[in-house]
């Protein structure tokens, strides 16, 4: 006989495990489907300093693991399963994964977001071989080397400044002729003597044999093409929601975020969106966990009514 959980949580980040914790404590049966390990995006953060309760900060991986253990203490289970497809239309919602099909009366979508890709051929091939999306994770290996940072927003500038302390030379490559980054960064940037800019430039090709050794650039106004030799490239052009699997079922906004308010209700009854994947202004661990609590409460109410 098939097992039907009261709540299926898709994605084991802070929002997902908080939903699991609250639901499990309310007596619901809960399974969290996570493709790798707990924590989501914060798992790669060295020190989380803005999550209250940890005066010295805590590393993101441990925080995620703690959230998992806490939810499991009250009966939530974790399956290391990658979701391949789902059918959310019926009363019993089916989630098809690499570990088989799971059924739930309600579903929390907490799939988060991931770094936006360049969309270039060979991008996947070069990933980890000179092409990176996380300066904090992979910057250390470029001590004394030359790296390019692609992007012009706050996170690109923060990445460039972090890398400037490690690498010999950092080149910020940006499509426009000014930074979008907030003013506070500008002065620090000017003081960093090893950071230079390539304005109005777009990457059109990744170059290198076996591993990345350079990029081809196109000037957005003149169309002129040049090649730039670098040891590494860090892509920091924003994030995109991981909502591909639900796009046929739930209303998304023009940027792909699941349309849901503070009550986490989506366009389908019994399906809730929490954390970075939903439309919201402030994407933080604390706002994700708040969403998780609300979603569990809403799921409990929904189950009581149907």
């Amino acid at each position: 006989m098939k097992r039907i959980y009261d709540l299926l949580v898709i994605g084991g980040g802070p929002g997902g495990y908080t939903a699991a914790l609250y639901a499990a404590r309310a007596g619901l049966s809960v399974a969290v489907l996570e493709k790798l390990s707990a924590g989501g995006q914060m798992a790669l953060t060295d020190t989380v300093d803005n999550y209250p309760g940890f005066p010295e900060g805590i590393d993101g991986f441990s925080l995620g693991e703690n959230m998992q253990l806490q939810a499991e203490r009250f009966g939530a289970v974790t399956e290391l399963a990658e979701v391949l497809d789902m059918d959310l239309s019926g009363k019993e919602k089916a989630v098809h994964t690499s570990e088989g099909t799971f059924w739930g009366k309600t579903v929390v979508i907490s799939t988060g977001a991931s770094p936006r890709k360049l969309g270039l051929p060979n991008e996947e091939f070069y990933t980890g071989k000179g092409l990176h999306y996380c300066a904090a994770c992979d910057g250390m290996r470029y001590k004394g080397k030359t790296v390019a940072v692609l992007g012009g927003g706050d996170s690109a500038v923060a990445d460039a400044l972090a890398l400037a302390r490690i690498a010999e030379k950092v080149i910020i490559v940006h499509r426009r002729d000014t930074l979008r980054a907030t003013k506070v960064y500008h002065q620090t940037l000017e003081e960093a003597s090893n950071v230079t800019f390539l304005w109005n430039s777009e990457v059109t090709e990744l170059l290198g044999q076996g591993k990345l050794s350079g990029i081809k650039l196109k000037h957005v106004q003149t169309g002129e093409e040049t090649e730039l030799s670098v040891d590494g490239v860090f892509v920091s052009i924003g994030r995109e929601p991981s909502s591909g699997l639900v796009k046929n079922y739930l209303e998304l906004d023009e940027r792909g975020y699941i349309v849901a308010g503070e009550n986490t209700a989506t366009s389908l009854p019994g399906v809730y969106a929490v954390g970075d994947v939903r439309t919201k202004k402030l994407r933080q661990i604390v706002t994700a966990v708040a969403d998780g609590a609300y979603a569990a409460y809403a799921a409990e109410e929904y189950i009581a009514q149907v």
């Binding site: 493709k35 790798l36 798992a43 790669l44 991986f61 290391l80 399963a81 690499s98």
Partner: protein, 105 residues
């Protein structure tokens, strides 16, 4: 089976025996290495047809060097005494499974 931590000697012995070995080259300071660890452990428990090994590159720099490890985590599959394939920073348990299936068969 559980995962096994290998030093260079232990690795060379298993390799010489022609065993099929998957090696996770990692280091304690590597954040993404921690992320793949739970999935790696789970897989080791689920299947006993190959050895799931771990090599700390800080403790075994020679072994990491021999294997041409530049980036971690890198998983390398060894079969009949040779490295047959590798994958860098797989992003899910399924991705690791697919990598194993491709290399073993």
């Amino acid at each position: 089976m559980a995962t096994v931590n290998l030093n260079n000697n232990q690795f060379q012995t298993l390799l010489a025996e022609g065993k099929t070995i998957l090696v996770d080259f990692w280091a304690p300071w590597c954040g993404y290495c921690r992320r793949i660890a739970p999935a790696y452990e789970k897989l080791a428990q689920e299947r006993d047809d190959i050895i799931f090994a771990k090599v700390n590159i800080d403790e075994e720099p020679l072994l990491a060097n021999d294997a041409n490890i530049e980036v971690i985590p890198t998983l390398v599959l060894y079969k009949e005494g040779k490295a047959v394939d590798f994958v860098i920073a797989p992003n899910s348990k399924l991705a690791i499974e697919k990598f194993i299936e491709q290399g073993v068969n």
